[in-house]
Amino acid sequence: MTDFGAAFAAAFRLVVTLDANLVEIVLLSLRVSLGAVAIATLIGMPLGAIVALFRFPGRTGAVVVLNALMGLPPVVVGLIVYLLLSRAGPLGVLGLLFTPTAMVIAQVILVTPIIAALTRQVIDDLWGEYAEQLRSLGAGPAQALPTLLWDGRFTLLIAVLAGFGRASAEVGAVMIVGGNIDHVTRVMTTAIALEVSKGDLALALGLGLILIALSLGINGTAYVLKGAAQWRSV
């Protein structure tokens, strides 16, 4: 129990003193995860909607693969991105390994299937409700796609939040492609892993508490914003 007491004290101290290192780590964490989620949303939502609305050969397979990819192991994704970006790899010339950009790339790969798979289900259900009316008005799948994404926006928020949850919580991928370099690629989760291995469990737990608080804050903000917007447009 002393660890927990010390953890709260450590977390409190870090937050109250606005520890410069902590602020840097938190900001980088947010930048990487929010950036990855933003890009994954731009890719995953249209992708999920396309799989939901269009009929093409292999569609059932695509749905299964999309759902299965939600469970991609972060370390494996990290390893693959590492191999692609390493000096000897096909994208080595870009010199991206051990940069925040590499971390964003890895997280985009992790998060896109989650957003795409959840979007597909949401749009599939919505299309069931709207199909006859929209087809009667003359909308094919291509016209229905933006309409349904917009009409499903409040439900789709959960897909984005699920993606953010994945991105902010994972450690395997960012550790491998970022390298946990102090002041360069150190984020909350890699910092926690490091403190644990150094034996400073209180500091690790303190960082963990801050990470959970951040996640709560972002989800809470999203919920309040959603409520306000939904109230106006039902």
Binding site: E132, Q133, L134, S136, G138, T147, S233, V234
Partner: protein, 255 residues
């Protein structure tokens, strides 16, 4: 509830020069699911101008027949043929109002505007048309309100306004008042009458005999997926030819 009938005269778009896609011919149309025939072989020809009411008990296949005519379903055999189409795209000359209105998550006005945008009506003309149909259907004061916050009856009126804005030559209505209270039913019937007066062919299903009496010029009586009687409404109600139609009119259930 004031429902104007001068819609055509004030419409900013002139469609009068366009030929009619009617008459509509059903050439042996049938529809089966998993080997079970739900719509029998139906042959008939629907002319322009009249209000055709497809009448029959629940499960007779009224809604299926309407969807086949509108092109939402493809017949298993036979053909739905718009005799007058001649180069016109029939799908652009029709609209349909469903039993349960499907409103998009946006304002009432934006719901109408959306339908017009799909038909590629220029943005500059859309505002006027939207205002006009909302006016005609008594919904002007709800223009900016989220469509899904409207009452069910108002949503159905909005669905009619949305269909009317498209100035269809043919308007299909699938039991449009089945879940409405009497006042809303009356309002919907008035709007349907106004749309008809403005020159649109009405094809509508109902199981409500009173409504059929009020609205129909012509009755198609459907029973177990087959068209078993057809004729002018007056004759159908005073002197039905088939036993099934007599039983239906007298209120005896038939399945």
């Amino acid at each position: 509830m004031e429902v104007g009938v001068n819609f055509v005269g004030t419409a900013p778009r002139a469609r009068s020069a366009k030929a009619s896609i009617l008459p509509l011919e059903l050439k042996g149309v049938s529809f089966s699911v998993a080997g079970e025939r739900l719509i029998g072989e139906i042959f008939c020809r629907l002319e322009s101008g009249t209000r055709t009411v497809i009448l029959g008990p629940n499960g007779a296949g009224k809604s299926l027949l309407l969807r086949l005519c509108h092109g939402l379903l493809q017949p298993s055999s036979g053909e739905v043929f718009w005799r007058g189409a001649d180069g016109l795209d029939p799908t652009r000359c029709q609209a349909m109002v469903f039993q349960r209105p499907v409103m998009l998550r946006r304002s009432a006005a934006a719901n109408v505007d959306y339908a017009l945008a799909l038909r590629k009506i220029p943005r500059s003309e859309r505002g006027d048309i939207v205002r006009e149909v909302l006016d005609q259907t008594g919904l002007a004061r709800f223009a900016g309100q989220a469509a899904r916050t409207l009452s069910f009856g108002e949503q159905q009126k909005l669905a009619l306004a949305r269909a009317w804005a498209l100035k269809p030559q043919v308007l299909f209505l699938d039991e449009p008042t089945a879940s409405l209270d009497p006042a809303a039913t009356r309002a919907v019937e008035q709007i349907v009458a106004a749309i008809h007066a403005a020159g649109t062919k009405i094809i509508m299903t109902t199981h409500d005999l009173g409504q059929a009496r009020r609205l129909a010029d012509e009755i198609l009586f459907l029973h177990k997926g087959r068209l078993i009687e057809r004729g002018p409404a007056e004759r159908f109600f005073t002197a039905p030819e088939t036993a099934a139609a007599r039983a239906f009119i007298s209120g005896e259930l038939l399945w």
